[in-house]
Amino acid sequence: MSTLVCSDCGFENALAAERCQKCGALLEDVAAEEISPPLQSAHDDFDPMTPADDDLPGLLNALKQNGDIGTGEGYLSGEQPLDSSASEDIFDSDAPDENEDIPEWLQRIRSRASEEADSIGEITQKISAARQSLTDEQGSGQHEIFQSWLNSIRDQKGIKEDETPSGDVDLLADPANGTDTTDTTDSTEVSDGGSDWLSKIRKGRGKLPHDEIQEPSSLDREGDSLLQWLVALEDGDGQLTQYSEEFTDKKTPLVEKTRQTVINHQAPGDETKQQTSTEALKSADIKKPVLSVSRSEKTQADQLSATIVDERTSRPIREPSSGSSNRLLRLIFGVLLIAGLSLSLFINNDALLPQEHLQLHHRALLSWAEELPPRASLLLVFDYQAGFNHELTLVAKPILEKAIQADGEISIFASTASGVLLSRRQLGGLEQAESLLINDLGYFPVPAYGAYRVANHTLPDWQIPDLPEPVKSLPPGGFDGILILSDTYEGARTWVEQLSALTPGTPLNLLLTAQAGPLMMPYFDSGQVNGVVSGLVDAAGVEAEIEESSAVANRWRAYQTGTLMLIATLVIGALIATDWVGNAEGTGPE
């Protein structure tokens, strides 16, 4: 793991840290150092706690709050000796002495465990599953490996092999109260009286009753002290370590005594077997339990650790900027913007419009409008929102005045809710408005439906005569041209794609806002669209070419003023913003 070691205090900081968490010194010049994680001890390797058992302290706390169990100190100090079968029998409702001396909380847990499979708890389920698998297995091979592993642990702890006759005998010792198990009778009583489950397991493994003294499984030890272990775990690592050390210290003398007992009770043949198995164990390879971590789990763990490191990283504290100066700056900017735009709007002399803005797609549209035949049938599609009305009026007015003839037939089609009203206002501003023949085709809520309906001139089948038609009838001869007025490229694209596929012979022309223009230009290059005019800049070029209107020229100066102020805002704002960043980097928790 790479860390940043502070050159002043030597504290190890996370890689992302800019300052030392301890002394606050800058870590900019400190190089990352690779620090290996601490080696795990034998106890760590044998840590039976799985990540899924993290909720055990919560479970114990809940039990404590209900008064169902006492604190761990009582159990550890021996004031309240724990029955070796208590943890096993908690969820075992088949125990023979079920109704005798069973506290109320245990009955509640048992009844709930019998009703709900999940209520037993994950660790208990695991213990049950492990016990079941232990019963099923032919345990000799695995058991020998386990014993050899225990021996290796003892070797690491400094226990000599000759002092420890076998790894399983010493497990009869009671680490909590130091019960002397040198007497075989006593140990047998403990086994018979306290743990019926232990006998079941041993019977399942084919062990005779006298074998129980010789080879009790170390798993049984864990099962006996499960609750003690949980309590110790909840009380903290220190107490747990103390408990483990106590267990280790008391083990050695007990093991010696037990060894003598076992030798006294062993038959001659058994002694030979024991020596043979011990030698075999010595020669066997020591296998440690393998901790398998998948890649996704490792990734999640890395993310979690990175998040924790990031949360603990000290961040520079930004000093609140002076609010009054900011407010004053904004006020000055606002006044300048409004005053400049207003003045440029009220100055009523026409600005000089740029000439070279007229490009190929503009000229194509103008040519189409000039070459329309007399009494041409046109379709105008109004696909824009009311907020873009002024912009599109400036764009469309010179084209419409050129294209619409006094005696021509105009069909209007709206794909926005206010499109019909906007079309009335748009056409009402034309010079030839009073003599226009307008065929209102109505409002289509979806542009694709409208385009499909416009392209299909056939009447629908299964018409019911008396019912009103959902769509007004279209001119039977089609259109000489279609003009699409749109504010977004999505709407314009739908119309163009549908109409160019279904009615490829009808010329399509686009009158667009500045935001929709660039995205529709590829359709002009591909030939699907005849001509395009978009935005105020294009409208200025068209007006300069036509020289018949001054609507754009009246607003061109305001447009220039607003755009210049926008450029100035961007440049000055960017400079100030990066200056703020520089200042913020210099401030930190001192």
Binding site: E356, V446, Y452, V571
Partner: protein, 205 residues
Amino acid sequence: MKKVLTVVIGLVIGMTVLAGYLFQAPLGPVLTLVVDWGILLIGLTGLLGIGYLLQMHIVKLIRCKKGAFFSVVVLLAFFVTLAAGFLLPDQNMFFSNLILNVQIPVEASLLAILAVTLIYTSLHLIRTRGWTPMSVGFLISAVVTLFLDLGYLQMGQETFAAGLVIFLRQLPLVGARGILLGMALGGLIVGLRILLTIDRPYGEG
């Protein structure tokens, strides 16, 4: 059964509409009918939406919840507009001005706020990222594009500067073509997935 029915209906309608592009003459009447049904359904959903909106505001008003005053404004505006729409034809200038003289300034003001918000967001981007190639490129492209639209640069037709200006103006088209190609391919794949019933937006699953 319900799932199978929706899948079959969706598949048949989709394949019919697709075939209508290839066989326009024989399938035209059928497709016109299908499109009319679709328009009617969308109109009905609009009515349902209006009804739900009215119900929500009326309940809010009755229970005197917070913001009930705005519900009064909404209901009043709705019923006045509805009455004007029923009583007056859409060619009537009063009706047109009643709607548009409110709607146009409101929407234009929202667009102006959007422009200011975009400027602030771009500055915030530069502030958070600092001077990176992306932020510098963004700032320069924005400033150059805006400046070219001002019309201050008047150049001849076949000069190097004119060619450079034309090149800079066509740069956004490159990005537009890429976006449109991506959208077309995406639309094609989505259409195929729906027609092959891999995606079922009309039902569960």
